[in-house]
Amino acid sequence: MATVTTKESESPEHQDILELERVTIRFAGDSGDGMQLAGTQFTKTSAVIGNDISTFPDIPAEIRAPQGSLPGVSGFQVSFSSQDIFTPGDQPDVLVAMNPAALKTNLGDLPRGGLLVVNENEFSEANLKKAAYASNPLEDGSLQAYRVYQVPISTLNSGALKDSGLTPVQVDRCKNMFALGLMFWMYSRPLETTLHWIDEKFGKNPAVCEANKTALKNGYHFGETTEMFATHYHVPKAKLKPGLYRNITGNEATALGFITASKLAGRQLFYGSYPITPASDVLHELSRFKRFGVKTFQAEDEIAAVGAAIGASFGGSLGLTGTSGPGLALKSEAIGLAVMVELPLVIMDVQRAGPSTGMPTKTEQADLLQAMFGRNGESPVAIVAPATASDCFNMAVEAWRIAIKYRTPVIFLSDAYLGMGSEPWLVPDISSLPKIEPNFASDPATFKPYARDPKTLARPWAIPGTPELEHRIGGLEKSDITGNVSYDPANHDKMVRLRAEKIECIAQDIPDVVVDGDDSGGLLVLGWGSTYGVITTAVQRARAEGKRVSAAHFRHLNPLPPNLGNVLRRYDRVLLPEINLGQMRMLLRAKFLLDIEGLNKVSGRPFTIAEVERKIAEMIG
């Protein structure tokens, strides 16, 4: 973070305002403390006043772990900047810790000299014990390396609300607003956006509404009037591409992309799904959109969800299903059926840490090989992977373009970090998006169930209700052209190869990979999925130091962009960071016979910029 100027302003004499280029705040507390809310409100305001933002929520898997316990800690990290940023920050500059457990869990990420704001009222013996502290860190000198602000948030909050008419429990729940207000003051943010939000959310309960607003304002005024804080900060507006923006999470963008695809295709969207972390939000979102004719089906299990989607596609709707890793495993057989019957089907997998139940709220990129190969027989499907939260919109539409044009299942590979993180989204002009033509079969004279379009190798999409096109499809091997059941040896070999070739054909309208940096030579850092932000930033920084390194990112994983092999060959070395043990690296090494090197971390967290920078330095000095 660059300190730019010290400004005299309207603030009281004892306070300076420092201008910063970028700040990263982490709110951390018990999962009942409203940290997600505080974080999202801070993010909203920062976006509205013009900073570029990026967020990373870190939620526990349990619904409500025991209050004050270590597993119950919930965190929200928001990075805001006057520059274009691609990640929510490696480390926070400020840690707001509402209790000892939050401090214990998060202190390790705070760099020396970082700001630490703690709610000192929660540092009781009982809470210290729950957090496995032998002594009180606020008293034993262990926090010397940081700039610590001990704020009695709970008592200040309850003092401010003593005449609110709320119960003590309700009063205590407002303390996140106090902490938020303090942070707003510290970083010179206006309160309007959050005050407006409070009015909307709690409008029906005036006492609660007032209390939240009071807590927020009191936190702000505390910062302003106390002599605790000598300095506060200002992060100017960023220079973003002009246009209309909204803050969006990956899951929200995904849902919007799917609905948009259905409008572009002029067909109903049918979503079959079973609740699973971290994909359930897409079901919640799509369930709200009934006025778009979206039919959502909460199935009895993952298999029924994909089965219903296949049935819907058979009927000419856009049959969509969504899940995470364990659900994708359950859907394998049905996806194989969709491969054999060659119907459009999109399967969303918001990846989380595995194997098995794994870590439901933590991110990972380890379902790639499952997406590529997780079906019996030679069973290829197309795969796309968004790079950022807003890119989820683009790739959701792209998944449908491919599924419909080529009559194939497409796996949309997102992850928990993208799904739950947010960033500004430049709202697209819908009229500029190309239509997707279903091209249903209609002519009985020429219709053959398994005849193929010469360019796409796709078979006709002939839906029930169309006269004279009655035919039967199914999971048994099909005879070329007629689609009758066939066990003929030569036919099976032919059909296996045709299905593989059809997927390869998709590459004909996939954009080439573009390299950010040098045309050739030196190190290329290659990524897919959510590593985009970290790789881009790390390579930018390395190049600024004069290092010979470039970056490239691809979003079509199967088939690959047609120029990928040639691009990789132009560089001396290729580094592929992945949050798995090297799945894409293995695929690319095999396909291109190139000695691609890996950077692999499988901790349930995204890479930090520093980790990639360090590896670049290690490789090329």
Partner: protein, 350 residues
Amino acid sequence: MPVREDKGSVMITAERPALTRKDFVTDQEVRWCPGCGDYSILAQTQKIMPELGIPRENIVFISGIGCSSRLPYYMNTYGFHSIHGRAPTIASGLKASRPELSVWVVTGDGDALSIGGNHILHVLRRNVDLQIILHNNEIYGLTKGQYSPTSELGKRTKSSPYGTIDAPLHPLSVAIGAEATFVARAIDTDAQLMHHCLERAYQHRGASFVEVYQNCNIFNDGTFREFAAKEVRADRTITLEHGKPLIYGKERDKGLRFNGMHIEVVEIGKDGITEGDVLVHDETRADPTIAFLLSRMEWPEFPVPMGVFRAVQRPTYDALMQKQIEDVINAEGEGELRDIFLEGDTWTVE
């Protein structure tokens, strides 16, 4: 047969010639074993299609895996031979998204009650408007003779050479337990009864569950013979008719009545028992208890009930789904993409 008014779409008019059974026969050679009960079920299914009075292109047959599930290949309609146990899921998605279609699920005792058990429960619970025809031959035929969830305890098969140790399910009891609104039983050797059950199943608005006793002459020959053979059928089965007393027998001399909480068989004319004492069949009873008791009745303690056990009205899943969308659109208007793009806080960068 009256056409269902709610089917709505294209009606058979003078411009479209009436369909015949031949229009529903495909060019595929039927591959079931000679003597298989599936042939007669296929024949009745093909026979009833033209009687439904709907265009052929609106009819879809969806099956799972098993001998029964080969049926779609022999029906000249849209058909989907899917994966083991999962036909109800595909059918639910199809019907929910295209409620105007006539959707038929063909399944078997293994497909529906073993691997497919979960999906059968839910398609019935949801009351998706479709017809489920379960070919129950009490064996796994296609995989050559393992026992099934409806095989009798102690049965010796390829996979149970010392006899099964699983107690079987009663398909109709399961269906009633899963809140099924229409439950019926037919048998492959009684064409007229099968026709009746298929017709009633089609007419019922909701999930119609029809169990068809089907003889697998290769792997489980004669499993129903004891009560279904022509000579004994009249005295060992009872055909349920709504509004009529539960009387059976060649001489119509036997009946069913309640004794306390149990159903018992009585001889009419003996011990002062008259027709008036006999239980009258009511398909439309809201409480499923009596239908459930009927589903428990097995030979030799009882005659085996045939025909329609239960036919009650309940809103269907597909109609409710459609209505919910229409209600929302009426209340909120059709959606504009731009509105949902701009949900939440937005800001402009100049």
